[in-house]
Assembly symmetry: C2
Homo-oligomer: 173 residues x 2
């Protein structure tokens, strides 16, 4: 079985990073609870939205992300059982490409460079299962899908859902 | 129709770049004619082979590549007719990722970031046709194939061949 796993908000915690950087930059007290069902930039005053949307262009943004809870252990086990690929829609931010590669080296060294894909559009992937936090990526994928719960997607429907990595492990291991 | 096109030695002339850098570094006079059927590193004295194999790790190697003859015009026309994606096995050289993105911005600006794929292994691509200079990429692709002639692959068999971009245009336009 060939398995594709998204990076941002699935194994790398961009959502909390956006909140932390926003709070630091604007001396804010935004919490994840206030953001449920929305993107972080939608939860800040309009005059700060561009700043939040530009986080991903900052040098160091991707390299400093924390891995999502239990992702390392579950991916290690999935890697031993399946053909596992990381598939990240990273081409939008060319500065991020090297950081994303370095981040994988640091946190997921068992995922060989041959098993890393940076793409713009996931409908060109051929495999059995895609785990992603974005419904539009899952909609266009020609295989089984699993929506990985992230604060922004709690109201999304239409795909089977895993709310954390232990649930993925339950389904696949 | 979904079309995947490789970068190195298909739209970007890495082969001649290897020869030029080698000749400059070692005051050499290697020509492409001497290299036919081989990789450039196989055509230099053993003590220089590592240097040639490390070219791709040098900063500036990928950004300075010349586009392959007629590739811009033919890709522009293919882009207007088909769903065209660039698929480069770039993950081996993390330093190259940003340069490859910049190089595409410079020479092929009409190819949107959503249509750019950096991957390690091309068997995960789902589409109709792959144009590549490496038989091993074409072997594992689940669709039609076209071997793009490069000095190193002149003796390869087993796939339909295009010896230049005008031949590709003849077949596809």
């Amino acid at each position: 079985m060939t398995l594709f796993i998204d990076m941002d908000e699935v194994i790398a915690d961009t959502y909390m990073a956006h909140i932390e950087i926003y709070n630091k930059d604007f001396d804010g007290s935004l919490t994840v609870e206030e953001c449920m069902g929305k993107e972080v930039w939608q939860c800040v005053p309009e005059e700060h939205q561009k700043s939040v949307r530009d986080h991903a262009k900052q040098e160091g943004f991707f390299i400093n992300l924390k891995p999502i809870k239990d992702s390392k252990e579950v991916l290690q086990a999935l890697h031993e059982k399946y053909a596992l690929f990381i598939a990240s829609a990273a081409m939008q931010f060319p500065n991020s490409l090297r950081e994303k590669s370095q981040w994988l080296d640091e946190h997921f060294p068992f995922i060989h460079w041959k098993n890393r894909i940076l793409c713009g559009n996931k409908h060109i992937l051929k495999g059995d299962l895609l785990i992603d936090d974005r419904s539009y990526n899952l909609d266009s994928f020609d295989g089984d899908t699993l929506l990985f719960t992230s604060p922004h997607n709690i109201h999304s429907n239409g795909h089977p859902r895993a709310k954390n990595w232990l649930e993925v492990a339950d389904k696949l291991l």
